[in-house]
């Protein structure tokens, strides 16, 4: 590479890294700052005396700074702790159910010909484009009647309506591009169920892994339904719990701290799975 090309590449990389991290940094820095620091004008570019007070506060602990100032535990702590537990539960269950259900479904749609396939596929794709605000009211009224508001099972069911169609769509594309091993399997005398469970699934590991990650992220990041269906209840999820710091009594530092925590699982997953992400083929 010529020196000039190298210069432009380095410059481009620097711009890309700033573009990627600046918006996150701007908020995340609050997690290590005090209210007075945050209120300073012009805005401080970095915490001059970084502290972990907010991380203690959101879990319900007081924090005493070196200078003796006491930062009081947050009144939202119970919601945050519940939120973390519920978010993990919902995301894990949704991921497991989505994967179990979608793998066979996508397989059938990707690799077999049968009547009405095109119409059924169109119906699945249609549900991908449904805006949550359109279905929110019906879900809400239905849930009130069934007593499902403020329950985890209720939230899991609505979340599945988001994850199943989108994950199915991605996996159908992936399965279509696998080699036609069904032919081999028929010669070898294996049943269709064997082919699916013992041949296709291990072959498609990376695609299924990505599909599971997508399901996890959609569930973990879901906020619209949670805001309406479970806010304030024992089934509150982390995003819904966090929004208390945003709307009720603004607490930028505690909001940033809990937001940072909520980003860790998706970041770890995305970081380690980025190699596989582009292996998904577009249908």
């Amino acid at each position: 590479m010529s020196r000039r090309a190298a210069f432009w590449l380095v410059l481009a990389v620097v711009v890309a890294v700033i573009w990627t991290f600046l918006p996150m940094y701007w908020t995340v820095k609050y997690a290590f700052m005090t209210k007075t620091e945050i209120a300073r004008f012009p805005p401080m570019l970095y915490p001059h005396a970084p502290n972990l007070a907010s991380f203690f506060n959101i879990f319900g602990f007081d924090y005493t700074a070196d200078n003796g100032t006491v930062y009081k535990a947050s009144g939202q702590a119970r919601q945050i702790i519940l939120g973390i537990r519920n978010s993990v539960l919902v995301a894990v269950i949704v991921t497991a159910v989505t994967t179990l259900v979608v793998v066979p479904l996508a397989y059938v749609f990707a690799r077999l010909e049968f009547p009405f396939k095109g119409k059924l596929l169109a119906a699945i794709l249609l549900s991908v484009s449904l805006p949550p605000v359109s279905t929110l009211i019906p879900f809400y009224t239905l849930y009130v009647q069934l007593g499902l508001t403020g329950t985890l099972i209720g939230l899991i069911i609505v979340t599945l309506t988001i994850t199943i169609p989108i994950v199915a769509w991605m996996l159908i594309g992936f399965f279509r591009n696998l080699p036609p091993v069904e032919l081999l399997a028929r010669v070898d005398g294996f049943s269709r169920f064997y082919v699916l469970t013992r041949i296709i699934v291990p072959m498609a590991r990376s695609g299924i892994l990505v599909a599971a990650v997508i399901a996890f992220l959609f569930s973990w990041n879901e906020y619209v339904y949670a805001q309406i269906l479970v806010t304030g209840s024992n089934a509150v999820t982390l995003p819904a719990a966090m929004s208390g710091f945003l709307f009720q009594v603004p607490e930028p530092s505690q909001l940033a701290a809990s937001l940072l925590l909520s980003l860790l699982p998706p970041f770890v997953i995305a970081f380690f799975l980025q190699k596989h992400i582009a292996e998904m083929h577009l249908a």
Binding site: P43, V133, S134, P179
Partner: protein, 305 residues
């Protein structure tokens, strides 16, 4: 594409489950589930849209026929919200694809020792829309934002608000693109890596400029991916609610009240459920219509290649 199991109606074979019954065994439970939990709300919303729902003085539903739909068409806030949705969508799609393409080009040229940067560039994609909304809210607001910091660094003591009534939609689109572009970049990168290097040699022999090389060699294999992501981004941008909800709450004033936000206010603040349901079908029509138009004027051309 060649299907591995190319079963045009084949005569019955007793030793194997037929395609249809195998497909049904596997997909019926899921399809029934989707039918109940997707079709039911849709049908219920459809029912609501023909009624006027009242909560004061006890719940009541009065059949009003198409009145709600007619009212939507005479509602100036519907048209202004629709305008904002379209503006946000068009800007988001263009920014997402342009930035995604730029990131992909950078990632492609990384020397082998720098490949770990790929794992960092993907991270915004993992941020939830409500998280991205919070990030860009603090980044943009006059009191806390980067605009004021830059102004201060240049010696000003004014606040500089990026979330202003005139440009709030553009600012929102930029944040949405920040959120979605990395995924686009990864798919485009995977596409780029399949372009035979010989084509670049050919471009050199033909003495193409950098731009011509990009236009004639790099871009053509990406066109299908760009089309698919134009559709995906269009749908996502039109559906967006939580991102805007946490970033601007439709403000300043109602400068960023897109259709989804206006719908939310009608249904959950004004509790005008019938009217909200009717308007939500207009939104659905706009989403399906836009992807349909994209497909007919662009997608069919790409498929033929």
């Amino acid at each position: 594409m060649a299907h591995p199991d190319n079963s045009a109606p084949a005569p019955h074979r007793r030793t194997e489950v037929s395609n249809l019954s195998f497909a049904l065994i596997i997909s019926i439970p899921v399809l029934v589930f989707l039918l109940i939990v997707v079709a039911y709300p849709l049908a219920y919303a459809f029912y609501l849209s023909f009624n006027e729902i009242r909560f004061f003085g006890g719940y009541s539903a009065d059949w009003v026929g198409l009145t709600n739909y007619a009212n939507v068409l005479y509602d100036p806030s519907f048209w202004s919200s629709l305008g904002r949705t379209l503006r946000f969508t068009v800007e988001t799609v263009i920014l997402t694809l342009a930035i995604g393409l730029g990131l992909a080009l950078i990632l492609k040229h990384l020397p082998p020792g720098w490949r770990w940067l790929r794992a960092l560039i993907i991270l915004p994609w993992a941020v939830s829309p409500y998280g991205a909304g919070i990030f860009f809210a603090y980044l943009g607001r006059g009191q806390t934002g980067i605009g004021t910091s830059v102004a201060a660094a240049l010696g000003s003591d004014q606040t500089f608000n990026l979330i202003s009534a005139n440009f709030v939609m553009e600012y929102l689109a930029l944040g949405a693109a920040w959120n979605m572009a990395p995924l686009v970049a990864f798919f485009l990168l995977a596409n780029m890596l399949t372009t035979p290097p010989r084509l670049y040699d050919l471009a050199k022999i033909d003495q193409m400029s950098h731009f011509e090389t990009f236009w004639h060699v790099t871009l053509p294999p990406l066109r299908f991916t760009i089309f698919v992501f134009s559709c995906i981004t269009t749908v996502l941008a039109m559906k967006t609610f939580d991102y805007i909800f946490t970033e601007t709450q439709g403000g300043p004033g109602s400068a960023s009240a897109v259709l989804t936000y206006t719908l939310y206010k009608i249904s959950f603040v004004n509790l005008d459920l019938g009217y909200g349901a009717a308007m939500s079908f207009f939104l659905l029509a706009v989403i399906l219509g836009s992807t349909g138009i994209l497909y007919f004027i662009w997608g069919r051309k790409e498929e033929r290649q």
